[in-house]
Structures are given as structure tokens and as C-alpha cells.
Symmetry: C2
Subunit: 201 residues, 2 copies
DNA sequence: CGAGTATTTGACCGTCTGGTCAAATGAACG
DNA sequence: CGTTCATTTGACCAGACGGTCAAATACTCG
């Protein structure tokens, strides 16, 4: 049969990856167990291993998929648009990404925290190229006097640091703000203010 | 003998905590092993357990000690000083803390990432009080028109997010900046610029 | 239906891990 | 020196963990 990917295979793999996201993002790679993974996926352990050869394979597949979903919305920075509008749109996109995909954010954070044993090559490869490209656009804006000068790479990293913080340190954010407030809504206002001032000098 | 803590006990406990910091900050609680811990401390496993009853006890002792060293330099915000100078000094203090104690920073980050199973009470207790106090000082400055208005809690969290980022995501920072640059020096300049603009509107 | 393949599972295994224990060693002191 | 207490250790254990395997079950299609 030429059919290489049956409906059931797609379904099981998807469920395993979903479960993996849930488990790895909370327990970390070391803390997660095959039993827990299988349980969260609603499968028996050997059944899970029928679809992925090992725990590490699930983790790898997850990280691989992550980088796509994660970096893709960040590629668009139109050099010809209004710099402040463009940049603020970028900030909002990144913030919404953290808000809507907190597990992905934490999974990524956990990897990098441990020294990125798996993701290191991607970081100094694809990621760096992406940042360099955006830094060039921003540099252009600054050179043209359209936004206040600053260090573009650090500016971009500031966006990451600030947006991811709300996802990765959600517990701390809630503890500090209290339960009655909406961190994400406030974050959007705050970051808008902050980066507007940063860019307009 | 009235002496309840011999020289050798202090030494061993200190070595264990030092080893724990090294190991837990890289491997996380789940990833760390007693053997690895004992090895890093230069002790045999049962010998380590002679000083701490369990792996968790080492972790707990570490987190407990952490909060002191970690939050203490952040208490000083003089309401009567120059707001921008005061706040920038705060930022620098926090940045140097992250630079000089990256393992502590990562240990803390790992805890909070996993939902702060241990530290949660402290976060909504001591930490929140500390932040509230500082937020009040900042609010006062804003009300007096001495700095541009913004949300004080988020302003403070921005400092944390940005400074810790350079320690917790050091691998990513290096990957993005390349090996020839000095992240910490650049970070200090960048954060000075950023928060100056933020505060002066 | 029946043959053949895809999927699922219970039982099992070797290894690692956190932790125990009794015995050995070392230090202090009269 | 001998006694006493603190420290250290090799040997050990029970449970968890990652992973295997052969057998059972479900599914597909002629």
C-alpha cells in the first residue's frame, strides 16, 4: 500500500505530541516519565513507543515543531512601513504568542535554561539569522532618523524577555499582581507604553 | 559542649549547598541525582545524606537561602532621592545580581517555570509585599510628576524580566550576539537607555 | 468471511535512583 | 592509653524508570 500515514497514525502522533507538550512543559524533560506521557496521551506505554521510539524522540519532535510555530509570526517587519507601528505590531504579535501558547513558551524556556542541549544549533543558526535580518531593518530606521537610536539586537531581545516573562513566570506574575487583575491585558498596555517611549526617544 | 556547629559541619554543609547550586541550576530538581550531587560536593552519597536527610532537603535549603541573597539588594528605593537615578541604580543592582549569580538566577527561574511548587507561598507573601512597597514609592514619584506615568508593578517586573533574561537565557543571548561581544556590558547600556526613556516619557 | 496487516497490550527486564544500615574510621579528651 | 562521639563508607534494598517482546486484538480489503 502506498498510503504511508493512516488516519489513526496521525491521530495518535498528534495526541502524543499534545500530551508531550503538556507534560514536558511542566515537568521538564528529566522530570517527565514515559508512563506519565502515555497516560496523558490516553495510551499504554508500549503503544506510545509504537509511534515514537523513545521519550527523547517525542521531546525532539516537539522542539522541532516548536521552532516553526514559534518563530514564524516574527519574520514580518516591513522596512517601508511606519517604524513605530511596525515594531509595536511585532511586540503585540510576540505577546499574543506567549499568551496563546504558554506551554510552548515554557518548553522553549526550559530547553534554553538547561543550556539548550538540543536547540543550540538552531539558536546560532536560524534564530541568529532571523534576528540579524530584523536588526538590519531596525538599524535602517535608526540611520534614517525615523526612530531613536539604540542597540537593535538588544532591542529585539527585550521584546522576547518581556513577552515571554508573562508566560514563563506566570505564577510569579499572578502572585505579584493578585488574582483580580488581568496580566495579559495590562501587559499589552505596559509594553506599548514602554516601547513607544523607547522608540521615540 | 555548647558548640552546636563544628567547623567540619559548616564546611560540609557549605560544600553540599555549593554543589547543589551547581547541579540543580543546570539539571533542575528532577534531573539532578544524589550521586551527581555527592560527587560534585566531593563526598560519598551516604555521607551527603548524613548532613541533609534527602535530595529535597538540599533543594529546599538552597531555595530558602536564595531568597535572602536574591531579594535583599532590591529593598532600597529612596523616595526622596532623584527618581531616575534611584531607579537606574535599582536596575543596575538587579543586573549585576544576575551577572554575578547566574546559577541562583537559573535555579529560581527553574522553580518558577515549574509552577513554583516550593516557592509559591513566598511569592505571594514576602515578594508581593516587597513589590507593593516599591510600587508605592514609584506611584508617589508619578503622582508628584517627577517621572512619566506608567503601571508601577509592571515597571518593576520589566526590570526583572530584562535583567534575568541575560542570565537565564545566556545561551540564547550568546547565540544571537555572537561570541565576540560582551552581553553584560551591552545590557547595562541598553537597559539604561531603555529605562531612562521609559521614565522621562 | 478470511487473510494479512496495523495496532494494542500484559508481562517482563536491566538499570538507575533515592535512601538505609551496620560497620569502620577518625577526632577529642580525660 | 581507652572511651566516646562524630564522621565516613561499602554493601545493600525497594521502587521507579526507559524500553522490549511475544502474543492478542482490531482493522482493511479482496
Amino acid at each position: 500500500m502506498v498510503n504511508d500515514d493512516t488516519r489513526i497514525q496521525r491521530d495518535r502522533r498528534a495526541r502524543i505530541l499534545e500530551a508531550g507538550l503538556e507534560v514536558f512543559s511542566v515537568e521538564g524533560f528529566a522530570g517527565a516519565t514515559l508512563d506519565g506521557l502515555a497516560n496523558a496521551a490516553g495510551l499504554s506505554k508500549p503503544n506510545l513507543l509504537y509511534y515514537f521510539p523513545s521519550k527523547e524522540a517525542v521531546y525532539l519532535a516537539l522542539l522541532e515543531r516548536l521552532l516553526d510555530t514559534w518563530l514564524d509570526p516574527l519574520r514580518v517587519l516591513d522596512p517601508d512601513g511606519d517604524p513605530v507601528v511596525e515594531f509595536l505590531a511585532y511586540v503585540r504579535r510576540k505577546l499574543h504568542l506567549a499568551r496563546d501558547y504558554p506551554r510552548e513558551s515554557r518548553l522553549f524556556a526550559g530547553e534554553v535554561l538547561r543550556g539548550a542541549p538540543v536547540l543550540a544549533p538552531e539558536l546560532s543558526g536560524d534564530l541568529r539569522k532571523l534576528v540579524d535580518a530584523q536588526a538590519r531593518v531596525i538599524s535602517g530606521w535608526m540611520a534614517a532618523g525615523r526612530i531613536a537610536p539604540s542597540e537593535p539586537h538588544h532591542l529585539i531581545m527585550s521584546v522576547w524577555a518581556l513577552t515571554q516573562h508573562y508566560a514563563d513566570f506566570a505564577v510569579q506574575v499572578s502572585a505579584v499582581l493578585g488574582d483580580t487583575r488581568d496580566p495579559w491585558e495590562e501587559a499589552e498596555a505596559h509594553l506599548t507604553t514602554m516601547f513607544t517611549r523607547m522608540l521615540t526617544g
